[in-house]
């Protein structure tokens, strides 16, 4: 409420919108320098965003895969008895498990110690790590596997020397299409199908799968499974898990080992996440170096612009106005780098997602964090130069 007469004492004022314009004067005067020093920030931000984006996209792919494969698959395998002896699962394990409340489907395999070769002429020592495995009809459905070419075993083919090869087994035997004959346990078996990789049961990739009846007839298979696969309702997984051991061998439930294959996939991903943390750490070092670059540029700029500062002080700028101008310039410089870095990081993530066929995923919070960290870096990097600018004596405009 000052009257018109009293006051020649108007204050020195700088409007907010003018601060923004002032912040750009240094950048416009030396654009190359501005771009180069912003580049440091941009690279740091881009590195961090790309690391997080790539990791998030691959995680998204894994989640998709888990959704597709399901996390409700449990496997039961023979463990060790209390005395340390290897145990076996009873032949009726599949039937018993099928009667647990909540179980949707059950299947089993039995690994036989029968060697597999491409032909009778193959070197008997070169087994190639392929296991002869007895499978039942339900197996492929329970483990969410799929046939790449040919057919899965059916009640008709399981009585004959027919074999379905896992993905890796087919590769190692050099079998590319069904109809080929292989030498399995001193018998010719005809390949009727080849599987795609089975993420939830990687053992099957190296298996030569044959039917129960032919196994019993040729190799004396006793019907005792080595792995039981079971799917239950999602809500029942934990309960079923605790019931598997007592159901299979009520007299010694601890003889049965139960595991959840989807956990293994998740664990593999957790290991990747730890690596991501390391890369983010490296990215933040790049960001720090970028911040130092901005600080360096600003210090030089303040030294060069002593006269401009002096002039502004003569025109009525307070120390605070000078501080705000240079702080604004540093913030603008790093924001410039931040925006460019966000774009670059997003582009890198996009390319990686495209190349690897991942779903593009970049959490919004990452971008928000990147923008926030550029602003923090700009403020920290600009603070010291801005203080120096504010301390430049007003007489600097006159001393030539």
């Amino acid at each position: 409420m000052s009257t018109a007469l009293a006051p020649p004492r108007a204050r020195s004022r700088l409007l907010g919108r003018d601060v923004l314009r002032l912040g750009t004067t240094g950048l416009r005067a030396r654009p190359t320098r501005a771009v180069l020093s912003a580049l440091g920030i941009a690279i740091g931000i881009a590195a961090m965003i790309a690391v997080v984006g790539i990791s998030a996209s691959s995680q998204a792919r894994l989640n998709d895969e888990l959704d597709r494969l399901g996390t409700n698959l449990l496997t039961a395998t023979p463990g060790k008895s209390l005395l340390g002896k290897a145990t076996t699962l009873p032949a009726d394990a599949v039937g018993k498990i099928g009667r647990i409340d909540g179980v949707q489907s059950v299947s089993s395999i039995a690994v036989l110690s029968v060697p597999v070769f491409r032909s009778p002429l193959s070197d008997p020592d070169a087994t190639g790590g392929i296991t002869t495995t007895v499978a039942d009809d339900a197996l492929l459905r329970v483990v969410s596997g799929s046939v790449r070419s040919g057919d899965w075993l059916n009640p008709a083919t399981s009585g004959f020397p027919a074999v379905v090869l896992g993905h890796a087994a087919a590769e190692r035997l050099g079998v590319v299409s069904p109809g080929t004959q292989i030498w399995l346990g001193s018998n010719y078996f005809t390949v009727v199908g080849i599987l795609d990789p089975v993420p939830l049961a990687p053992d099957l990739d190296r298996a030569a799968l044959i039917g129960g009846p032919v196994a019993k007839e040729l190799f004396g298979f006793d019907g005792s499974p080595t792995t039981v696969y079971e799917r239950s309702d999602d809500a029942a997984v934990d309960r079923v898990r605790s019931l598997l051991g007592p159901t299979i061998t009520p007299q010694s439930p601890s003889d049965v080992e139960v595991s959840r294959p989807s956990d293994a996939l998740a664990a593999r991903n957790a290991a990747n996440q730890a690596f991501t943390g390391l890369l983010v750490g490296l990215g933040s070092i790049a960001l720090l170096v970028g911040g130092i670059g901005v600080a360096n540029t600003m210090v030089i700029s303040v030294l060069e612009r002593r006269r401009e500062i002096g002039l502004r002080r003569a025109l009525g700028a307070t120390r605070w106005h000078v501080l705000v101008q240079f702080l604004g310039e540093a913030l603008l410089l790093s924001a410039l780098g931040g925006v460019f870095g966000c774009a670059l990081g997003t582009a890198v993530t996009g390319v990686m997602a495209l190349v690897n066929d991942w779903p593009f995923t970049l959490p919004a919070v990452t971008i928000a964090a990147a923008v926030a960290s550029t602003l923090v870096i700009g403020a920290v990097a600009g603070f010291y130069p801005a203080i120096r600018a504010a301390r430049t004596p007003p007489t600097a405009a006159l001393s030539s």
Partner: protein, 230 residues
């Protein structure tokens, strides 16, 4: 109170042991005067200009500018004084390169809280006052030295300050441009602005009605032509 500049035994020393650049200056400039402060380089006239312009504070004595004791004012108050009450003209013009004459002049009001559109409007008027209405959109590198100094003068007077300080305003100009600039200062003075010109150029000083001679940080002569209010 009415004097726009009132210095009483003003001293300014630098360094340790102290060297007196200003060794006790007492002088008064009334409103509406046109004054030359003249002295050779090293005489302490720049130090005096800094103190009169409130860019620097005296280490001894009392300096009152526009009625305010400089020693009592903080940075904000001094800045406000410079923003609203004092206009500066420099030997090197100090114009921003790559910025038009209008925008350079408008910057004279940057720290007064006037919005940009209004600043530019008043800048156009100020450029008219210095006879540069035909150079509004020109950048400093498209202007002659004399024109640049006139842009700088327009910037100094765009806010209509009662006090205009000119530090060697003709120092970088040829004599014709220099004479035009001096005539402009006379004109501004006739319109009511107190003008103080700091120079080592005795010839220039001779054209002004009052001359204060400085040597070794002291006033050695204060000559006012008769008929001029002192």
């Amino acid at each position: 109170m009415n004097a726009i500049i009132s210095l009483e035994d003003v001293q300014r020393s630098y360094g340790e042991p102290p060297v007196l650049a200003c060794a006790g200056v007492t002088l008064t400039v009334e409103r509406g005067e046109l004054v030359a402060i003249v002295g050779p380089s090293g005489s302490g006239k720049s130090t005096l200009l800094n103190i009169i312009g409130t860019l620097d504070r005296p280490t001894g004595g009392v300096a009152r500018i526009d009625g305010l004791a400089v020693a009592d004012l903080d940075d904000r108050a001094l800045s406000a004084l410079r923003a609203h009450r004092i206009g500066f003209v420099f030997q090197q013009f100090h114009l921003a390169e790559g910025v038009t004459a209008v925008d350079n002049v408008a910057d004279g009001l940057l720290y007064t809280g006037v919005p940009r559109a209004e600043r530019r409007r008043r800048a156009v008027t100020a450029l008219g006052r210095v006879g540069l209405s035909h150079r509004l959109g020109h950048r400093p590198n498209q202007l002659s030295g004399g024109e640049r100094q006139r842009v700088a003068i327009a910037r100094a007077v765009v806010g209509d300050p009662p006090l205009l300080l000119a530090d060697e305003p003709t120092g970088n100009l040829d004599s014709a441009s220099g004479a035009a600039v001096v005539e402009l200062l006379h004109e501004l003075n006739r319109q009511g602005t107190t003008v103080v010109v700091i120079t080592h150029d005795v010839e220039l000083a001779e054209t002004l009605p009052r001359r204060i001679s400085i040597r070794d940080g002291r006033v050695v002569d204060d000559f006012a032509e008769p008929g001029v209010a002192a």
